[in-house]
């Protein structure tokens, strides 16, 4: 890496080298049985340069061919955007623990046992269910160096366990599932099994929803599948800079319900979304986004922050393997004071949405969403009476979040990138067959 940096400095004004190497081991179960064990080793090297004031970029997996990497970066710099930022110089990083050496010692046998235990528990409740499960452990190391003396280096471990079950009766299909992830090894599957068994219990009976506006509770998974993508786009500094965020000119203003708090936080120990610095070597920080319903901040990488005349929030992300762009590390919605049971008790006729299919296909920027309730339940007179099907709900994220009836007291991590409680809204449009 040092060699590439030195060579790049000969042809460019500034340079930065980023390298990731990782090894992941997924153990996969299909149709209730162990089916596949994989080992995935990968490494990649990316070079970002500033030449005559413009950004050039190239990536490769071929560590031996540094000349081509440099040539490609120089070629792209002719067309690149003018660089408005400076690479981060040598700074100190917050102490964020994301590596547990014990992950290395979790054996394949132990991973297989975990998956089998999970499937056995779920099938103990519903023998005819067909399950797919995955147990994955991975280790990665990240290193960044640049021509301004900046350098960062850390290792991250992750472990995840998940299950999806399908229950088919005639042509009626029910899909249930849950997953969990951590930087520590996960040693038991009981919590996931219990969630799935509860889904199976609640979905046992069928109920129908009328085509009219109804009060609705989104579970943490429901929030993730329906409401989060529009917020991720709206708080992205790039969307704001382009004038395409509906809240871009509302900084400091009340846009959401006063009960709502949202922040981005990559500094929580042992969470898979955490890291001491972002992918451009900027220190991680907790960034408040919504405080008591008021828009508090947007998230930025170095270049976008410079263009917007503000500072990077440490959210530079190379998710797609290209140049860094602003992206959330982990969104966290503050827990409230209402239990799930209290929410259900409050509803005369309404819906609980656990999984909405198709919501990400709408006008994400405008906040409009519409989706099929893939897993959801009907509530009548304070009781969950059964699963709804052939039901669509539609709404607008900004209208919904402007009037929240209650926020749950029990926040849960969903998919490693979001921690949210249940959210309860007074009214959502429902269409059903």
């Amino acid at each position: 890496m040092e060699n590439i940096l030195a060579q790049a400095k000969k042809v460019a004004d500034e340079a930065e080298v980023f390298m990731v190497s990782s090894e992941g081991i997924p153990v996969q179960f299909e149709a209730n049985r162990l089916k596949h064990i994989q080992t995935k080793q990968s490494r990649s090297l990316a070079l970002r340069i500033i030449k005559q004031g413009k950004i050039g970029y190239s990536a490769t997996t071929e560590l031996g061919d540094s000349q081509r990497l440099i040539n490609n970066a120089v070629e792209t710099a002719q067309f690149g955007m003018p660089a408005k930022f400076e690479f981060s110089s040598l700074v100190s990083y917050p102490q964020v623990e994301v590596f547990d050496p014990n992950i290395e010692y979790v054996s394949i046998e132990e991973m297989v046992r975990l998956g089998e235990e999970l499937i056995t528990m779920v099938r103990g409740h519903t023998p005819e269910i067909v399950c797919e499960a995955g147990v994955v452990k991975s280790l990665a190391s990240v290193r960044i160096i640049n021509s301004r003396g900046g350098q960062a280096n850390y290792r991250v471990s992750t472990f995840s366990l998940g299950i999806e079950g399908s229950l088919i009766r005639d042509t009626d299909m029910l899909f249930v599932g849950d997953s969990e992830s951590s930087c520590h090894p996960i040693s038991g599957s009981k919590a996931i099994a219990e969630t799935v068994i509860q889904q199976l219990e609640l979905a046992k009976n069928r109920a129908s929803a009328p085509s009219q506006p109804l009060p609705v509770i989104f579970t943490p998974d429901g929030v993730a599948s329906a409401l989060i993508l529009p917020l991720m786009a709206a708080f992205n500094g790039k969307t704001v800079l382009e004038g395409a965020s509906p809240i871009g000119n509302r900084l400091g203003q009340p846009v959401f319900d006063k009960k709502l708090w949202l922040w981005d936080d990559p500094t929580i120990d042992y969470r898979p979304g955490s890291r001491p610095c972002d992918d451009e070597g900027v220190p991680s920080q907790r960034t408040p986004l919504i405080e008591q319903g008021t828009v508090a901040n947007f998230i930025y990488d170095l270049q976008t922050a410079a263009l917007a005349h503000t500072r990077s929030t440490g959210n530079g992300d190379r998710g797609r393997g290209g140049l860094p762009i602003p992206a959330p590390s982990a969104f966290i919605i503050g827990a409230g004071d209402t239990t799930f049971d209290e929410m259900v008790n409050d509803i005369k006729e309404g819906l609980i949405i656990e999984l909405l299919m198709g919501a990400e296909q709408g006008n994400i920027l405008g906040g409009d969403f519409s989706g099929n309730v893939l897993l959801g339940y009907k509530v009548e007179s304070g009781k969950i009476v059964g699963r709804v099907k052939d039901t669509m709900v539609s709404g607008n994220v900004y209208q919904l979040l402007n009037q929240i009836t209650a926020i749950g007291s029990d926040a849960k991590w969903v998919g490693g990138f979001l921690k949210t409680p249940h959210l309860y809204f007074p009214s959502l449009s429902v269409a059903s067959k």
Partner: protein, 458 residues
Amino acid sequence: MSYIEDISRQLAEEIQGYGADYVEARLEQSQTSRITYRGRNLESVDKATASGGNVRALVKGGWGFVSFNNLNELPAKVELAVKQAQFVGNEESKLAPVEPVVDIVSSEIDRSPVTIPLAEKKKLLDEYNDIIWHTPKLQTSIIGYGDSHKKVIFANTLGSYIEQERTDITLRLTAIAIDGSEVQQVGLSLGSSGDFSLIQGLHHQVEQMSQHAVELLSAPRVEGGEYTVVLDPVLAGVFTHEAFGHLSEADFVYENDRLREIMVLGKKFGSTELNIVDGAAIPGLRGSYKYDDEGVPATKTYLIREGKLVGRLHSRETAAKMGEKPTGNARAINYRYPPIVRMTNTYIEPRLASFEDIIGDIKEGVYAKNWYGGTTSMEMFTFSAGEAYMIRDGKVAETIRPVVLTGNVFATLNNIDAIGSDLEMNQGGGCGKGGQVPLPVSNGSPHIRIRHCLVGGR
């Protein structure tokens, strides 16, 4: 002989003699370039090169798989894949028999997209971006262009050795219009199997897209409920892919007894007018190839013929376990993944109805065009239109906000009661499954009419 070919020859020999029931190796070398615009100016341009490979082994019905970028120490990688497979396997391995193939398939494209100078690509994108920015009331634009040129070398223990070159181009343009707190966006997705000229000359389409985004600012939302819906060829293609295509992938079915009962060949899904086809052997499209990633020759497979289920898409394993013939549909997005059963080019065959025949007797309905996306859970599917209009008294009427449509596959295909004559293939799609996204596919259809389709709305 290049480095990657040299490595491939070594691996082809190395995989023999580990006592596995079957071993294959795949090596890949690729060049890609990407250009992104956000707003008025080019935002990022990058070029990447990659090389990597994998070894997949089958022992007593269990699979092991090792992928890597580091091309050293290949014997250890083969050994690890076999060891993993041994750990899993406890039954009989079943793979549909295929003849070993030795072949070299070079790209049919005269001018590989990765060799076209960046300046030439930028010039075209600048022209499109100018059109968007010259549209009054438009706030901003997003343009993503990508191309790739890959060489993939496959070898297995049957003695197959296949080199294939593949090229691909994608272009997605988005126009964003804003009025106060109203934000509306319209997108256009295009692609080709490497021919750059197919994404040139689209200035008129880009102009229409931009104007439509502005129109949407003042368009009403449809009232949610059941409608008679007419889909244009692009959206009907997405519908075919989501609503039926995924259900015909045998890996969902082969180890699930109940699904096997539901998806029994001969079952009636639609009217006798309905034929649905998938096939990589249909040339010149983004889902076209000569051999799949298990070295099986591509085919053209009827999934539905005259309304009845007559076939499904297979890998060698699913074909063997269901006692059917392999169809050459095992695909991997790159060397980091094992091949799984995927669609290629999927479409509804054209019939006779004209557009006027299709909408003429609809009193109130929805005409949905273009696409944002689609997804399926097998039984239920949703897909969303990029443009939508009301149909009133047999005529296309006012513009409405884009709609999301949903349905149940077992009912909805039966509710298709008119199929047009104007088949078009859409090359702008990318399919996701099992974390492998976006895989180049194409899909298409003529205009179709669906009765009793559930539309989300206010």
